[in-house]
C-alpha cells in the first residue's frame, strides 16, 4: 500500500488515539471523595451522630446508581465539635490529603462563613452544609456554597407573615448567641416593622444550659403574643416553651428548621407532658413518616431497615439526616450534570450546574418540583406539632419564597 497524505493523517490519528488512551484512562480516578465535618461531639452531637450514618447510606446508594460518571464515590466524616475553626482545619486537611475531593459538606453557619473567603482557585470545592444562613445564598460572592432549602431569613419572613395574617401585633425573638442564632434577627426586625408587628423582645441565650427562668421572665414581662425561637437543636427551646406553659403564658411559639425535629418533640412530650402542643414552624421537607413520601424516601426506608436494624434509624430518618441527604443529593446532581457534559468536575463547573436545577423532582423531599434560585431552594411549608398524635403535620400548602 502506498502511503499518501490521507493514509498518513488517518494513521497518525489512530496512533495518537491508541497511545493517548491510557493517559485518558489514567485521568479518570478510581473514586471521587466527598468529605464532611460533623458535630460528633459538642453541643449538637445528637444531630451529628444521627447524620453520620445517613452519609454512609448516601455513599452506598449513589454507588449503586453508578457513582458520578461511572466513578464510585467515598464519603468521609470528621468531627468538628461544632467549632468552626476545627471544621476549617478538617477542610484544609481534606484538600491536602484527598486528591479527588470534589465536594465538601460543612456543619455550621460559622464554618460556612469562615471558609467562604478560602474558596478560591485550587482551594474551591462545591460546598453544601447544615446551614440555612442567608449570607450563603449569594452566588455572586459565594458561587460554590448553596442551601438545600429556604434561608433562615426566608423562614422568618414566612412566620412573620403568618403572624400578621392571624392578626398578631407583638412578637419576641429568642435566639442562641451564635452565628446560627443571630443570622436572621436584624432582617426579622426590619420585616416585622414592614408588616406592622412590634418586636417587644430580642433575647440572646446560651445555645446549651441557658438560664431558663430569666429568659421566661423576660418573655412574660414583654407580653409578646408570638415568640420565634432560632438557633437551637435539641435543648433550650423545649425548656423555654415548658417554662412559659407552666406560667400560663398565652404566647404562641414558632421555630425554624433545626427546632422542628419530631424525635425531640416526642421525648419532650414523654417527659414533660403536652407542653409543645400547637408549636409551629417552617420545615422545607416532608417528614419521614409522611404517608406520601415518594420513591427516594421509600428507597431510604428499605436500606435503613436492614443496614440500621436495631438502631433509632431502622424506621425513621430525622429531619437533620434528610437535610444532609438532600444537600449531598443536590451536589451530586450538579456534578453528574458536569460529568455528563464531559467536563472536569471543578468547583466552577459544578457551581454553574447548580443553576440548571430547575423544576427538579427530588423524589419525595418536597411535595412539588423545586428550583435552585440564587443558590437556594426557597420551598417549604408550615407544620404544627400535636401532643395527641405526637406528629408535626402540615398547616399550609407548599410555597416558594
Amino acid at each position: 500500500m502506498r502511503l499518501n497524505r490521507r493514509h498518513f493523517l488517518a494513521g497518525s490519528a489512530a496512533a495518537t488515539a491508541t497511545l493517548g488512551a491510557p493517559a485518558l484512562l489514567r485521568a479518570q480516578p478510581s473514586e471521587y471523595v466527598i468529605a464532611s465535618s460533623l458535630p460528633l461531639t459538642g453541643p449538637f452531637a445528637t444531630a451529628g451522630q444521627m447524620v453520620a450514618p445517613a452519609l454512609r447510606m448516601f455513599e452506598a446508594l449513589v454507588n449503586e446508581d453508578g457513582g458520578i460518571g461511572g466513578v464510585p464515590i467515598r464519603v468521609t466524616a470528621e468531627d468538628s465539635g461544632y467549632v468552626p475553626a476545627n471544621a476549617l482545619a478538617n477542610y484544609q486537611r481534606a484538600l491536602a490529603t484527598e486528591p479527588n475531593l470534589i465536594m465538601y459538606f460543612g456543619d455550621s453557619t460559622g464554618f460556612m462563613k469562615l471558609v467562604a473567603p478560602e474558596l478560591r482557585g485550587e482551594n474551591a470545592r462545591l460546598m453544601g452544609s447544615t446551614s440555612f444562613a442567608s449570607e450563603l445564598s449569594d452566588p455572586a460572592n459565594n458561587p460554590y456554597q448553596y442551601l438545600p432549602g429556604p434561608s433562615y431569613e426566608d423562614q422568618f419572613d414566612i412566620l412573620l407573615q403568618q403572624i400578621a395574617d392571624e392578626g398578631g401585633s407583638t412578637v419576641a425573638f429568642i435566639f442562641s448567641n451564635t452565628e446560627f442564632g443571630r443570622d436572621p434577627i436584624a432582617h426579622g426586625r426590619a420585616r416585622a416593622e414592614e408588616l406592622g408587628l412590634r418586636v417587644v423582645l430580642e433575647e440572646a441565650t446560651r445555645e446549651q444550659g441557658a438560664d431558663i427562668p430569666t429568659h421566661v421572665t423576660q418573655l412574660a414581662q414583654s407580653g409578646a403574643e408570638f415568640c420565634i425561637l432560632q438557633g437551637y437543636v435539641t435543648g433550650v427551646w423545649p425548656q423555654l416553651i415548658g417554662g412559659a406553659r407552666q406560667f400560663g403564658l398565652p404566647t404562641r411559639f414558632m421555630g425554624t428548621f433545626w427546632g422542628m425535629e419530631n424525635a425531640i418533640a416526642d421525648r419532650v412530650t414523654a417527659e414533660a407532658g403536652p407542653i409543645l402542643d400547637g408549636y409551629a414552624g417552617v420545615m422545607p421537607y416532608k417528614y419521614f413518616y409522611d404517608p406520601e413520601r415518594g420513591p427516594v424516601y421509600e428507597r431510604y426506608a428499605t436500606f435503613q431497615k436492614t443496614a440500621f436494624a436495631g438502631t433509632p434509624l431502622e424506621n425513621y430518618m430525622p429531619t437533620w439526616g434528610l437535610q444532609a441527604l438532600l444537600s449531598l443529593t443536590i451536589g451530586v446532581e450538579a456534578l453528574r450534570k458536569v460529568a455528563d457534559k464531559g467536563l472536569e468536575l471543578s468547583a466552577d463547573n459544578a457551581a454553574e450546574a447548580l443553576s440548571e436545577l430547575r423544576d427538579w423532582d427530588t423524589g419525595g423531599f418536597f411535595g412539588v418540583p423545586v428550583t435552585m434560585e440564587a443558590n437556594k431552594i426557597g420551598t417549604g411549608r408550615v407544620y404544627q406539632y400535636s401532643a395527641e398524635t405526637r406528629l408535626f403535620t402540615p398547616t399550609s400548602d407548599w410555597f416558594t419564597v
Binding site: 448567641n177 427562668p213 430569666t214 425548656q239 406560667f247 425531640i264 421525648r267 417527659e271
Partner: protein, 334 residues
C-alpha cells in the same frame, strides 16, 4: 425595683447551683491540692446515672408499673378535673413520678460515689507522692475518657428527665412588678444550699472534717498525727462525686441531658478561682455573685454580654487577689 428583685432572685437560684458544683472542686482541692479539671464530667456522669435510674430502668420489662408512673385512684380522681398547667396538676404530676425520681437520685448517688472512688483508687492514689502537677494533668486526661465513655454508654442523644420538685409557678407582685418564680428552681436552690451548708458544717465540726482540714494544712504532719491521708483523699473524691451527682440531676432537669453538660464545670472553675480554691465561704460568695451578675447582665445588656461581664469580674478579682476572695495566700520562701 421589682425587676431588679426578680433578676436578683433568678441569679441567686443559678448561683446556688454553681455553689453546689463548686463544693466538689473545693473539697478535692482542700484534701489533695489537686484542681480537678474533670469535675464537670463527673457531674455529667451523675446526670446520666440519674437518667438511667429515673428514665431507663422504670421502662424495662421487669420494672413494676408503679415505678414508671404511680397513679393511685385518689390521684386520678383529683387530677381528672384540673386544668393541664394548674399548680395542683403540677404537684400531682410530680407525685406520679416520685418513685422513679427517688430511684434516680439514689442510683445517681451510689453510682457516682463508686465512680469517684474508682478514680481515686485506680488513678490518683498511685500518683501520691508524685508532683501535684502530674495529678492535675491526669484529671485533664480524664475529661476525654469520661466524655468518650458517656457517649459510648448513653450515646449523644439529647434526653429529658423528670424534675426533682414540682414545677409549680409562683407569682406575686412586688414594688409594682410581677415576680415570676418556678417552684422546681426554688426547690433546687434549697437542695443546693442545704447540701452546701451540710458539707461546710461537716468540714468544720466532724472528725472527718477536721481530718480534711488537717490534711489541707500539711499532709506530712497529718500523717504523723495518725490521720489516714489516703482515706481523706477517698472521702474527698466521694464527696465531690456525690455532690456532683445531685448537681448533675438538677442541671439535667433544667436543661435536658447531653454530653455537653460536662462543659458546665469549666465556667464553675472560674468561680472557684474567684472565691479561693480552698475556701467554701469564698466560693459560695463568688458563686452567688456570678449568678446574680449573669442575670442582671442578661436583663440590662442582653445575652450577648451575659457570658462575658461576670467573667470579667472574675478576672478583676483574680488580678487584685490572685488567691481569690477568701483563699489562703501561699507564701513560698526561697
Amino acid at each position: 425595683m421589682g425587676q431588679f428583685l426578680q433578676f436578683t432572685i433568678n441569679g441567686l437560684m443559678s448561683g446556688a447551683i454553681y455553689a453546689l458544683i463548686a463544693v466538689g472542686l473545693v473539697s478535692v482541692f482542700k484534701a489533695t491540692r489537686v484542681v480537678n479539671f474533670a469535675h464537670g464530667y463527673l457531674i455529667m456522669f451523675g446526670a446520666y446515672f440519674y437518667f438511667t435510674f429515673a428514665v431507663l430502668v422504670p421502662q424495662m420489662p421487669f420494672a413494676p408499673e408503679w415505678l414508671q408512673s404511680w397513679r393511685p385512684e385518689w390521684m386520678l380522681a383529683m387530677r381528672a378535673d384540673l386544668p393541664m398547667f394548674s399548680p395542683m396538676a403540677a404537684v400531682l404530676d410530680w407525685m406520679a413520678n416520685l418513685p422513679r425520681i427517688l430511684l434516680g437520685l439514689a442510683g445517681a448517688l451510689v453510682c457516682n460515689a463508686l465512680l469517684g472512688l474508682l478514680i481515686e483508687r485506680a488513678l490518683m492514689r498511685p500518683l501520691m507522692g508524685q508532683s501535684v502537677f502530674a495529678m492535675i494533668m491526669l484529671t485533664v486526661g480524664l475529661i476525654s475518657i469520661l466524655s468518650g465513655a458517656a457517649q459510648l454508654i448513653w450515646t449523644s442523644d439529647a434526653e429529658f428527665v423528670p424534675a426533682l420538685a414540682p414545677n409549680t409557678p409562683i407569682r406575686f407582685e412586688m414594688f409594682g412588678a410581677n415576680i415570676f418564680l418556678f417552684g422546681a428552681d426554688l426547690a433546687n436552690m434549697a437542695i443546693a444550699l442545704l447540701i452546701f451548708l451540710g458539707i461546710v458544717a461537716m468540714v468544720r465540726y466532724t472528725k472527718s472534717g477536721v481530718a480534711i482540714r488537717a490534711t489541707a494544712e500539711d499532709q506530712s504532719t497529718a500523717y504523723s498525727m495518725g490521720i489516714s491521708v489516703p482515706t481523706v483523699f477517698s472521702r474527698a473524691w466521694v464527696l465531690a462525686s456525690t455532690t456532683g451527682a445531685i448537681a448533675g440531676a438538677i442541671l439535667a432537669t433544667r436543661n435536658g441531658i447531653s454530653p455537653a453538660l460536662g462543659l458546665f464545670g469549666f465556667s464553675v472553675l472560674a468561680i472557684v478561682l474567684m472565691g479561693g480554691l480552698d475556701s467554701y465561704l469564698g466560693v459560695f460568695i463568688a458563686a452567688m455573685a456570678v449568678g446574680v451578675l449573669e442575670a442582671l447582665t442578661q436583663w440590662k445588656l442582653g445575652g450577648e454580654w451575659a457570658g462575658i461581664v461576670p467573667y470579667v469580674a472574675v478576672l478583676i478579682v483574680i488580678l487584685i487577689r490572685p488567691h481569690g476572695l477568701l483563699g489562703s495566700k501561699e507564701i513560698e520562701r526561697i
